[in-house]
């Protein structure tokens, strides 16, 4: 098991290098240079060149790449062209926001999705199945920012309960959490439902029923454990996707997370910001994926056995 974890951690190095090369290549062919961008229309060509030279942008692309990556090795992710702030400091300040929004969103999706999914599977073809399934189809087809805007219309405009922007108070987390929770909850519901339907048809569930266990015990004790395995995989993937994929939600609610930071960087061609932000996201993503695999091995003894077998 340790060997497996070490192998996975070592594998992160080529992944991060690859990510940095890809992003740097795309940024290099993006039109525009930081000097022109910062000075705007008012700057003369000489001013622009001077500023570009100061920023180190006059070097050829490959030299800038190596310079940046050697800096990154010493935990220096550069300074933003626009704000002159250290990218590492910014990332460290913003990552907790992104991670907590993603985490809260996933948690909400589980709280919404699993009970409703189990309910609609147990009461298949009844109204209690039809309504959640319909809602899930609806939400799975909705753009996340549209759901967020609808929540804003309801909670901020109509009721005036919640702030529509920012997280100056804890209340600000509620709508991002709920909009992500609804969207991913729709997916969790569908997975839980189909997995539960499959499980309750298994022989051991019938056996449990036959020996006289109550309906409730059969569902929650016997069927649940196995039905949830595929749900865990999906949740893990969703959590990984949400770290970066919550960009839209972060932008909508004006959250100071990694997503908004990187998007602003892309728009301003702020290379250190985009590079540092994306590399940090990729590291976070790899760690989350590793943790999810470990969690999966923990809950499914079959997988643990496989790792143990591979060790020799």
């Amino acid at each position: 098991m340790y060997k497996y974890v070490l192998k996975r951690l070592a594998w992160m190095i080529p992944i991060i290098l690859g990510v940095s090369v890809i992003i740097f290549c795309i940024l290099s062919v993006t039109p525009g240079d930081p000097g022109t961008f910062i000075l705007g229309a008012g700057g003369t060509q000489a001013d622009v060149d001077e500023l570009n030279r100061k920023l180190g942008y006059d070097l050829p692309a490959w030299q800038r790449y190596f310079k940046y990556m050697f800096g990154a090795l010493r935990l220096d992710l550069g300074t933003s062209y626009m704000t002159k702030l250290s990218v590492l400091d910014e990332v460290l300040a913003k990552a907790p926001v992104s991670v907590s929004v993603a985490f809260l969103g996933i948690l909400t999706s589980l709280v919404i999705g699993i009970p409703l999914g189990v309910l609609s599977a147990v009461k298949q073809y009844s109204l209690l199945d039809a309504i959640p399934t319909f809602l899930a189809i609806f939400l799975a087809a909705a753009p996340s920012f549209w759901v967020g805007l609808m929540l804003m219309v309801f909670f901020s405009v109509k009721l005036g309960w919640l702030p529509s922007q920012g997280i100056t108070s804890i209340k600000g987390y509620f709508m991002p959490m709920l909009s992500l929770g609804l969207i991913y909850g729709a997916q969790t519901l569908r997975f839980t439902r189909s997995s539960m339907l499959e499980t309750i048809r298994q022989d051991y569930v019938r056996t449990a029923k036959a020996k006289g266990a109550s309906e409730r015990a059969v569902i929650w004790k016997h069927a649940m454990q196995n039905a949830l395995l595929p749900v865990i995989t999906v949740t893990g993937n969703n959590f990984g996707a949400l770290l970066g994929g919550a960009i839209v939600t972060e932008t909508l609610f004006g959250l100071p997370g990694l997503g908004t930071y990187i998007v602003a960087g892309i728009k301003a061609k702020d290379i250190p910001v985009v590079m540092g932000g994306t590399i940090s996201l990729a590291i976070l993503f790899s760690i989350v994926m590793l943790l999810m695999d470990l969690l999966y091995a923990y809950v499914d003894p079959r997988i643990k056995a496989k790792y143990a077998g591979n060790r020799g």
Binding site: T30, A141, P143, S144, W146, V153, G244, I266, K267, L281
Partner: protein, 297 residues
């Protein structure tokens, strides 16, 4: 050599036998939700194709400030936007862009990713390993972020957005096709074709593709809806379709300004997206069940 050729074409299991299509259609028709999806989607596609007849593109972008921000009425069933443009006509023309990008990006993504995945699974070993590891790298970048940087590099435009979406989705498509190909590549009939001297190209075209095409059609269909959502997200983040051309996501972000006074402006384009992508998802579900009744839950 001649005999070999006829073997290759006879031996292929073709999906396109009329009786089989009829059988699939018979199973598909029984699924009411999928049929509803097909009908709604067909109506939306027709509206997109004949958008010019419903209201000209000129009328969808021409400003008429006198009539701005009107509530829905018989004259403007979705109301008008901040420049007095009829929102219904803008939604119809927006559908043209959104649906086109959705279908084009999904089909192109499946072709590019599919060829890569199939070749990778077919040749296996080192080549497969190299391809899969490269895809791992791409997968560590969130799809929307990759698409966003690509659009920034290529510039905003329908074709560039399609290219960006395709590139950012290639890993997912390649993985799906690779998995399907691995399921058939060890089968005896492939071995037989190989022993008979059929070329690799021929084996892939005539023996592998027909056997994996079913699930791929389903995946491509399902992906149209995520492509539509992704396009909308790009527009929302300010790197999608640029004004004044309407696109469903862009219509929502334009309406955001008026959230306090005219929330219905956000509602309608959103419902267009939901209607289209829910129909596509239901259609995909129905196709999956009809193509392979064993998978039916």
């Amino acid at each position: 050599m001649e005999a070999m050729k006829s073997y290759a074409s006879d031996g292929a299991i073709t999906m396109k036998k009329p009786s089989q299509i009829k059988e699939i259609w018979r199973r598909f028709r029984k699924n009411k939700l999928a049929m509803a999806g097909l009908i709604v989607l067909s109506v939306m596609i027709l509206a997109a194709v004949f958008a010019e007849q419903i209201g000209t593109y000129q009328s969808a972008i021409a400003m008429d400030v006198k009539n701005k921000l009107q509530n829905p009425s018989w004259q403007h069933i979705f109301g008008t936007d901040g420049y007095g443009r009829d929102l219904f006509i803008r939604c119809v023309h927006g559908g043209r862009v959104s649906l086109f990008i959705g279908f084009a990006a999904s089909i192109a993504g499946m072709l590019c990713g599919g060829i890569l995945g199939m070749i990778s699974a077919y040749y296996g070993n080192k080549f497969d390993n190299a391809v899969m590891r490269t895809l791992d790298v791409f997968s560590a970048i969130p799809t929307i972020l990759l698409a966003l940087t690509l659009v920034a590099a290529l510039g905003q435009g329908i074709v560039n957005i399609i290219v960006a979406l395709v590139i950012s989705r290639i890993p997912a498509f390649a993985r799906i096709v690779r998995a399907s190909t691995l399921g058939v590549v060890d089968q005896d009939y492939i071995e037989a074709a190989r022993a008979g001297g059929t070329s690799d190209y021929h084996i892939m075209l005539k023996h592998i593709i027909p056997n994996i095409v079913g699930p791929l059609i389903v995946q491509t269909t399902m992906n149209v809806s995520s492509m539509i959502l992704q396009t909308a997200s790009l527009s929302f983040l300010g790197l999608g379709i640029s004004a004044p051309r309407p696109e469903w996501g862009a219509l929502i972000s334009e309406a955001k300004e008026y959230i306090r006074i005219k929330p219905f402006m956000i509602l309608f384009p959103g419902l267009c997206i939901i209607l289209a992508s829910a129909s596509i998802n239901l259609l995909g579900d129905g196709l999956r069940d009809a193509l392979d009744p064993r998978l039916k839950s």
